[in-house]
């Protein structure tokens, strides 16, 4: 049995060829949970983080249970998936000697992601409202240097999110630092351009040598523009275009959660990313 956990955005998803006895147990676990009945035709969620399981079944199981050899199990029902993974952890934990130690680590990671999805940590704590398991640094909110006359006009949201204050000739754009700007104003394209500049999806950690690592959030004004927020110890900061950097939303409220704050026309919340010290930001 082949098991793939759909959790990454940029990197290939982790997958394992399970030993026969473990694979059979895992399938029976899924079959008993009822999640198999929900495999068609629901698409995988488009969010960042854990999105579901893909399973390649051996012929004996396909024939016995009369199922498709390839099962997609989207993580639509979070609580059920959490229960499944908790049981899976119990099985895999004692099968480490079969060479699937790494699977156990990923199972624990997914449990952690799902738990945070169901009950996010208190607002303001590290990782609040995200499912980011990676270490990152939260620099104090200090808008003053960003609002100086020499920097304010061209340091935009991307420069602020990346913590790259400079005297740019114009607003820096995701992708220019690595040679190719985004090609459309979709969240996927802008995020891909930021990744070419060095950013990662949450869950794809940076080493300590890349500190300070920024936790950022990307939002989209469909067809028109993008905007970034950066996490600080007690709030999220941002800099709308050539205006002042601030930590309040369009309603004047301190930003505790960029997914829920007033963002004006930037109605699409694309997701969270990590930006390293070495991010290449250029205009």
């Amino acid at each position: 049995m082949h098991l793939t956990i759909d959790v990454f955005s940029g990197r290939p998803n982790p997958s394992w060829q399970l030993p026969v006895v473990v694979g059979r147990t895992v399938f029976e676990l899924i079959n008993d949970s009822g999640l198999r009945l929900l495999t068609l035709p629901v698409p995988f969620p488009s969010r960042l983080g854990y999105r579901g399981l893909q399973i390649g079944l051996p012929i004996d199981i396909v024939q016995k249970y009369r199922v498709s050899p390839l099962l997609d199990i989207p993580a639509v029902l979070i609580i059920e998936h959490l229960a499944l993974f908790r049981e899976l952890a119990g099985i895999v934990k004692f099968a480490g000697f079969l060479g699937i130690e790494e699977l156990y680590k990923f199972v624990l990671l997914v449990i952690d992601l799902l738990q945070k999805t169901i009950a996010p940590p208190a607002s303001g704590s590290p990782g609040a409202t995200t499912t980011n398991p990676c270490p990152f640094e939260m620099l104090p909110f200090d808008p003053k240097p960003w609002n100086e006359g020499a920097y304010k006009p061209t340091n935009n949201c991307y420069a602020y999110a990346s913590n790259k204050r400079a005297k740019y000739p114009s607003k820096p754009q995701p992708g220019i630092g690595s040679g190719a700007m985004f090609s459309s104003l979709s969240g996927a394209d802008v995020a891909a351009a930021a990744k070419r500049d060095g950013a990662h999806d949450v869950g794809d950690c940076f080493p300590d040598s890349e500190a300070p690592r920024m936790l950022v959030a990307l939002v989209i004004w469909p067809g028109n523009d993008y905007h970034w927020y950066r996490k600080h110890p007690d709030c999220w900061g941002h800099k709308p275009g050539s205006t002042d950097a601030r930590n309040v939303d369009s309603s004047g409220a301190i930003i505790a959660d960029p997914e829920k704050c007033d963002r004006g026309p930037y109605t699409v919340f694309h997701g969270y990313m990590l930006i390293p010290k070495s991010q290449k930001v250029a205009a």
């Binding site: 905007h227 800099k239 709308p240 275009g241 004006g264």
Partner: protein, 154 residues
């Protein structure tokens, strides 16, 4: 041609054309001459803001409309949030370094360290200036901006 600015700031408009220049002259307003202008819509956060040029007739109309505004005793509020914020015209030619900004019912004219402020009743001046970019903006963006202006008359 000098750009002397009378110390008083009020009313009265006269539009003159000298060669290729257009002049807005008012007894109580600064003399402004310009043959063209570059308009910027301050609306985006990440991307560069949309800009376009005004022709000489459009620039003349800009100055005529500016001259028709009444002086405001209310300071312009800086609206600097996400989404549409203001529309700005940077005059070219003899009025270089003169910037006219319209936002939330107030038009400001900045020149050589001086600031003049005018009331933009119903935001009509602002709306007109935004609409000069109709052929440069997407229909969706133009609809959003004019909708924002219409929904917040002050």
């Amino acid at each position: 041609m000098s750009t002397k600015a009378p110390p008083r700031v009020l009313l009265g408009v006269l539009l003159l054309t000298l060669g290729t220049s257009v002049m807005a002259l008012a007894a109580d307003k600064p003399v402004i001459k310009a043959s063209s202008a570059v308009v910027t819509l301050d609306v985006f956060s990440g991307r560069p803001n949309p800009t376009w040029s005004l022709s000489q007739p459009a620039t003349a109309e800009l100055l005529r409309r500016l001259g028709a505004l009444e002086t405001s005793k209310v300071d312009a509020r800086e609206f600097d949030d996400l989404g549409y914020r203001s529309v700005k015209a940077e005059l070219a030619g003899e009025a270089k370094d003169t910037v006219v900004t319209a936002s939330r019912g107030v038009v400001t004219l900045d020149r050589a360290g001086e600031r003049f402020q005018y009331t933009d009743a119903g935001r009509q001046f602002e709306l007109w200036l935004v609409n000069t970019g109709a052929s440069h903006l997407t229909a969706d963006l133009l609809r959003y901006v004019t909708g924002e202006i219409a929904s917040k008359p002050k």
